[in-house]
Symmetry: C2
Subunit: 437 residues, 2 copies
Amino acid sequence: MKEVKVGLIGFGTVGQGVVKLLRQNQKDIEARLGGRIALAGVADKDWRRPRQVALDKKFRRADGYQLIADPEVKIIIELVGNFPGVKEMIIDALRAGKMVVTANKALLAKYGDEIFAVAKKSGADIYFGASVAGGIPILRVLREGLAANRIQAIYGIVNGTCNYILTRMQEADLEYAEALKEAQARGYAEANPEADVEGIDASHKLAILLRLGFGMSVPIEKIFRKGISRLSHLDLQAASELGYRIKLLAVARESEGRLEARVHPTLIPESSMLANVRGVYNAVYVRGNFVGPTLFYGQGAGMEATASAVMSDVMELARNILQGRRAGRLRPEGYAALNPHGLRLEPMDDLVGPYYLRAWVKDQPGVLAKIAGILGKHMISINSVIQREVRDGKSVPIIIITHQALEANIQKAVREINRLKVVLNPVQLIRIATELE
Amino acid sequence: MKEVKVGLIGFGTVGQGVVKLLRQNQKDIEARLGGRIALAGVADKDWRRPRQVALDKKFRRADGYQLIADPEVKIIIELVGNFPGVKEMIIDALRAGKMVVTANKALLAKYGDEIFAVAKKSGADIYFGASVAGGIPILRVLREGLAANRIQAIYGIVNGTCNYILTRMQEADLEYAEALKEAQARGYAEANPEADVEGIDASHKLAILLRLGFGMSVPIEKIFRKGISRLSHLDLQAASELGYRIKLLAVARESEGRLEARVHPTLIPESSMLANVRGVYNAVYVRGNFVGPTLFYGQGAGMEATASAVMSDVMELARNILQGRRAGRLRPEGYAALNPHGLRLEPMDDLVGPYYLRAWVKDQPGVLAKIAGILGKHMISINSVIQREVRDGKSVPIIIITHQALEANIQKAVREINRLKVVLNPVQLIRIATELE
């Protein structure tokens, strides 16, 4: 049986998962591929750290460049993470004619154009299926399964940490800080949770989805981004009463030649498939102009699910190599020609939709009238209002759902409301997605 | 720009969708493929029938063999349906070295081995992504996205007609006959609905899923099959009270070297993702040994969604052709070697799980004791019981949920219960799937 040699750089959680999978599913891989995938070696800086997966000394390398220099190695799996020198290592591997598989979303979101250009020039492919939504083969779905569609919208729950926190806030009546602490205790959130809870990780993934779904290379700083750290349990409770769930969504939506690209907490109808995605699970809703609405669900992270995605890419490359083929005609980044429809990014101010507003106000007459007056002045009409009883009798939350309104107007109105003396805290503003089924 | 010529055989609903897609999404296809897909001609026996999609006379052919004989045509799209002569036509196309795309699930379920052998011998590929779950790229997911996994279980809602009927029975409190009539009026069910409502269509799709997921070629007559036509509104209502939904599922499940293959109505937890699949939508739950649970959701039928699946296959073939490549190494049927784990089909009698039993009995003392006695005799223990009040005071339904029990024992017990004089109708038996999240 013919074999393809792979070199693995980085023996952390996912790297160990890859080695485990290669051992445990060898027979399945061979039966599907009609060939063998053989591990040439694993490079890591630190071999003293204890590991879950054992690795014989003969496979251990101190430096990834030992594997890149090995002429027997055809595929490099990069699982180091976002560290200095990794971008250069990937580029050097591609220049050396190696096929590359990586899960490095931050790197691709930032330097995708540069890295893909090197790959194209050197006739090598770089695959990155594990970079978005872990085990869910969403990039492959966009690139191939839905390839005949013009993609109209993508709504993704692509950060398991945030989804876990929001699920616990909702279901266990926790405040944000408590749910975060729980997520940290369970290993779902890092000691410094900023990249997850502020939507940075989700914005990196959205940048990759924009490329695969719309053929758009969008700088991450142009993606609107708001995290979940300012949400209160009260918001999840109120949303629930109104028939919604709150999810951190990565949204890409095309309409009339303009592309929305935004990451923020979103109210979605509780009957929608996305609303039922609980805990650390991820899911991506995609609407294509022929396929209609679709949804892809699974584990977005973890040793084994991510290894599944990495190895699916390795198998595709191995198949090409076994056929004596260099890079594929349909490039892994999904488009032979970028931005075929000449889309332009929509400024956030131009967004139109319904909004959820929550204000803590002094419990005195006329407050609602003042707020409603400001909204009316900015052409924002009110769909429904909840005003709650609170024990202390001094302050109350007012929750307002608006009809369709313009983001620029909402922002102006919110600034004005925040200046009212009777408003005790800045207004909580959450966008509402209504088109999800 | 290089182009690949395709010939379409069959200008029915899906055929028209393909022509529509080729026109409407030409730019998207070219941007992704870096090449053009050109329609050489469309064959159909009947050109007088009115159509939704217009087609210039110069494209019309009376006979598919005109396209097969055309040396310019590289890909044949077969969308005739399950008619005499279609199998031979597909085989002739493959022998002529044409790549073939088909949505013909019945044909592949019955003659897959023969057709795939011809393809392999002639070095051509036959793709059939549209044959299962319409627009959802589930076959591609099994073949590639989850290729590195040993698949452990597949639970599919793969028949939109049944799912529509069950959704309406549940949500609009309809009886089966009423919901069927509604489905027929909306064009979701045929005048003779047997193939859908008796699970025949779902069993064909399961046969294809077994091949892609497990590398198993299973004759359709070996797949256990039970339809939805005997379900009563009462069952859906009772299931709901107990926290379940009823879905027609195509189930494939491996455990200890044995493979379950069965199609039947199933109680599933209402909190599961599959339970929330409503109306004509399809969804397939797949559990792989590394990726864990995943779910893929979308439209299972319809002109446009099915055309999306057909054209995704055409694009993959066109990519290969543009690269000067013949058939792929990873064959479209997913396995280079069948049955790598030497699985054996599990006899239905050996199935173990909880069951839902519903009996209509005379409203008199001691009936439940009799039934419980029979269950106990056959080693079946009871988890919960609902006994309902009914107006007439003469007959009542008794609903029993069992603990884990052996199918053979359940069948024996049910036969014995049916012989009781106090039991007015044959017991309704529905299997329960508990492992779905």
